[in-house]
Symmetry: C4
């Protein structure tokens, strides 16, 4: 009951972040905060949104604001999805099972991570609407194929190939916090490869970098074996976006891995317009990294995105109140988007024009 | 007497703000400070003025500086009016009655809010010069018409339609301060609708958004029934300004609601030039949001405004010393404008050219 | 002797400022720090210099760096003069007499202020090289003429007409510090007008503004009666610069009164290039406001100035150690200029080209 | 052993800096931190890197990242060399001998300073791969020639002429810390000139500036007598770069002396592109000043550099753990570069294109 009272006084995603940081242990909160290296991109993800300006239109009929989005034929309560994040048991005992339940409650899509602490099968069992499955392409192509098959068999509607981490590197904030997988948290999807990989210690700077030899040919191969929707996640360069479209993907996710990939890459909202221009409406563009406000969601859409993903914010909700916390975070953000649309004079998502800039 | 001494040592509007914050309780001062959401626009309203530069002309005869403005046929001591702000009893027991008295003393126009804590009739009884009446268009058109009629009957010279809040949203700073209407403070103009609406609790994020279906057609209708001057308040977009002029309004108020409407919209001083160019002198343009210095007033005029409104600053004056405080704030700002005009080499308002930029 | 030791450990103008602030009483140090209003221009005067970049040339022969400047036929140790500042007795018992002695020691020109605490006659008696005399044109033209005559008779080589203060305004920092003329400090040059004016209390915001009716015609008249060099001080606008040259002045001083005149005017180093282009070498251009480093002096010269004035920095020297302090400040700045010239590969002032930007 | 543990927890160059500052006495740490004057350029060296953005390419084969560089026919583990810094005994008893050993361990080149605390002969004895020798051209040309001969005889592969300090000036941070050569630290290479010069007290602002008359003719002469590779260090101006190439040098080092030369010159990464365009691949360009991250090294290469030098960072390593500390710093930076290359999709240095910007 105390928790219930508390959640009523969390008015914004920033409030949830503060509450989560109080609740989590140091290692967990540092892991969630961490960006790569000097965290230039992490900060820039927020700063870029704060630099953008909205220019409203008045005297529009906004008596029936509608934030619903149909994506790949399925209705979402809003153009806001739940991004793939690994090891969610670190934040709440129910981990991804609570998050996918939050997605159910919020009428939106949950995207499971390869490094989820529950298997994709267990997660899909809890999903009332099809989840998506994020996959790190493994040097072992057989296992990549196995992962895709397991996702599809479990009912996933889409596969997201994360392309922005061909090499492994440490995040210093994690190193300083002594980050490790706590007892009971494992890479559940990797169990079939043996406990070694499922429970392998976290990477460290002095570990030799194990870099991938994954190329566009692999993406073509994945496309050929993937019978559900296929998206590529982690694109910032318009040339890569065009190439991905030419590989017949169904969607693109503009992302800098929440500032956790390569430092000093642009904020996604700054990278988005050029990608959108290059893609030119051939496939939907999603984006993540830095979304904390309804005005951010609006800006993403006005700059060419069809939808956005949030990551850390829903994990703050998860840490504070499990599935209900996830759902509350989603509702706050959706309501803020609704208010932004009303104040901008656009009652429907399709009224948000990238032609006029806004 | 102690208060009298104190006021003599308040040299700037910032001094009045500090003094008011000492005097007011936390809820009241937070309510007055509050911007919407992340308060990006609230900060930008000030930052934009600090970025602008003035370039003086020397050796002009400034022995007779004249800040007087004739607006809609009526003389004002300066191009500075008193903006509509609701619930003024929160700041001083006499509330709007003291503010309108401050307007009398300062020889300028007071604009009453729909959500004033006194009725428009009571306020107009105290006004030695005609007040203006700000109106939120209600979904109940009959009540809108009633409000207009009451204003005109009471002697108001102009009606200002606030157009920038078609939906209601919360301000987190208010939520955190537990803002509510204190006992004895009500929306006096709404009494005829019953005590429920007059005393309704303050909006909250979890209140379903009640969005307006007010459109340009409504503005045309208001124009047709409004026999006094009609202004639209809250314009930032040049296209809306043109459309409003085509609806035959008598003036436009460029405003972002003091940073309380939609976050991340531009500072008004940044939005003003494009609006002014679009309006092209067909009607007077007023502006508010962020004015704290005589140089700000000058910049507004040099960028196309005929006059400005101040809001928070005169409420600081009200909180500190009632009507006398309001008048002192107005006099400080007027004197600063006078000094700016002298140092710029422009003795009359008409010497402030938007042609040359300054 | 202790003072002597102290001065040896003051390595920069910033060190002198800190030492002076320790030594002076609050009222005096606040008076010296004060800019007008929000002190935007005061800060900008420094920030603008920090934004500018120097691009050196290497392998130039800089074995004989020469900072000497001949101005109006007279050699100066460096292109750095002592700006007019009033009431110097506030900072040191010997006031302007010590400062002019500092000019003697530094082989540079001291410019006396109208509001000096010693008469121009007393000051010129101490000057081993001709001083200049800064004059606020008075509404009483007869007294203006008397001042000019007294300056010329006393041996002044030039008259500087301050043009940027046609109206009087307060500086809030001074008001807050309760600034007033201490006993024994007077406007000595105004004694002939009676003790009232010589000792009049300091201006205050609620004093009605007494604005000047001084115009270009007055400047022409002054030119006609002034048989020594004539400069106009306070120009920021290129049009005013051209007009002044057309009035046959001998020089122009680009200044924003050290940020004490009108707030939000540009930093002088930002205003300088356009003025220099408009003047096009017809008369020497001096500038002040914000010079604290040898690189600043260099930038001023590279942007079109013939020489610079310093104000506050030499008063810090005066406060710390009288004439010796003034001389030390001048020597530090001259040495820093020498080092800058050496590192830039320009051994002579004439090598500093405005053609190449640097 | 305790030290060994400590070094394992230093994950970045910033960690080494903090650890070194704990270990060093105040005078030594201040000496190492010091930039010239207001330290504008010192700060800008970092700020400029943080402003730059990287734009990755995905799905490239990065399974075999190779950071090796062949420079002047010799393989380096990475394009990162050890910059010349004097008086290294201040930071560690073994001084330059430990640093050159760090170079051996890291398979990179150590550049000895003229003002090393060991002789070039002693240093070269410890070098397992040829060192380079940085030389301040002395007004005594005979001694310059002697230094070059000693370097070449000792086995140096290249001579670097530092060109950006034709005059001597103080750094205030050093003056305030009372910087002096501690007992046992001398300019070992200057012993042949007598102990006076080898142990001369540190320069001071009140020392008359002793400026060099070294010109391009001297560089031509040095070229004629120098039978090994010849580089000029300290170039920021593209015109100087072209002139140096015309003097037949073998390489250019873009540098602002780590912010210790002339204040307000550009960050080297900002100066680099114009120099690279002017040089147009005729000779390799090296750069230093501000490199702290693998992304910085990458940006330097993407903006036209063939390699970079680091200075302060390896001295932090030296202070913390001698040769092992130097090697660790080098390995961290090399690994960060490796990760950057992987995440950028460039497996070889030659894939880093200045044509595409990145």
């Amino acid at each position: 009951v105390a928790g219930q009272i508390q959640i009523d006084r969390l008015y914004t995603l920033a409030d949830f972040e503060a509450a989560a940081n109080q609740q989590l242990n140091f290692m967990a909160s540092e892991y969630l905060k961490a960006g790569i290296a000097g965290e230039v991109t992490l900060r820039e993800n927020r700063a870029a949104f704060e630099r953008l300006r909205l220019l409203p239109r008045l005297f529009e009929d906004v008596s029936a604001i509608d934030t619903r989005l149909t994506l790949f034929g399925r209705e979402h309560a809003s153009p806001i999805l739940l991004a793939p994040v690994g090891y969610q048991k670190i934040f709440h005992p129910e981990g991804e099972l609570a998050s996918v339940e939050g997605g159910n409650l919020s009428n939106t899509t949950f995207i499971s991570a390869t490094f989820a602490s529950f298997t994709i099968e267990d997660i899909c069992l809890r999903a009332k609407r099809p989840a998506w499955f994020q996959i790190y392409v493994q040097n072992d192509r057989g296992f990549t194929q196995e992962l895709i098959n397991r996702g599809v068999t479990s009912g996933c509607e889409a596969i997201c190939i994360t392309a922005d981490t061909p090499v492994n590197g440490p995040r210093e904030r994690e190193l300083r916090a002594g980050f490790h997988l706590p007892p009971g948290v494992e890479r559940a999807n990797l169990r079939s490869l043996g406990s070694t990989l499922a429970n392998a210690p976290h990477r460290n700077i002095y570990t030799p970098i194990r870099a991938a030899n994954v190329t566009w040919k692999d993406l073509e191969w994945i496309r050929s074996i993937c019978k559900v929707k296929l998206l590529v996640k982690g694109i910032l360069n318009p040339k890569d976006a065009v190439r991905a479209v030419e590989c017949d993907v169904d969607g693109i996710i503009v992302s800098n891995h929440g500032g956790r990939g390569l430092d000093t890459v642009p904020a996604t909202i700054d990278a988005l317009p050029a990608v959108a221009e290059a893609v030119s409406d051939r496939v939907p563009i999603l984006m993540d990294s830095g979304i904390r406000r309804g005005t951010d969601v609006y800006q993403a859409l006005a700059n060419g995105a069809t939808a956005v993903l949030i990551g850390r914010p829903y994990l703050h909700g998860l840490a504070v109140a499990g599935a209900a916390g996830v759902a509350r975070v989603m509702e706050i953000l959706r309501t803020e988007l609704e208010m932004t649309m009303g104040l901008m004079g656009r009652a429907r998502l399709s009224d948000i024009s990238t032609q006029t800039g806004l």
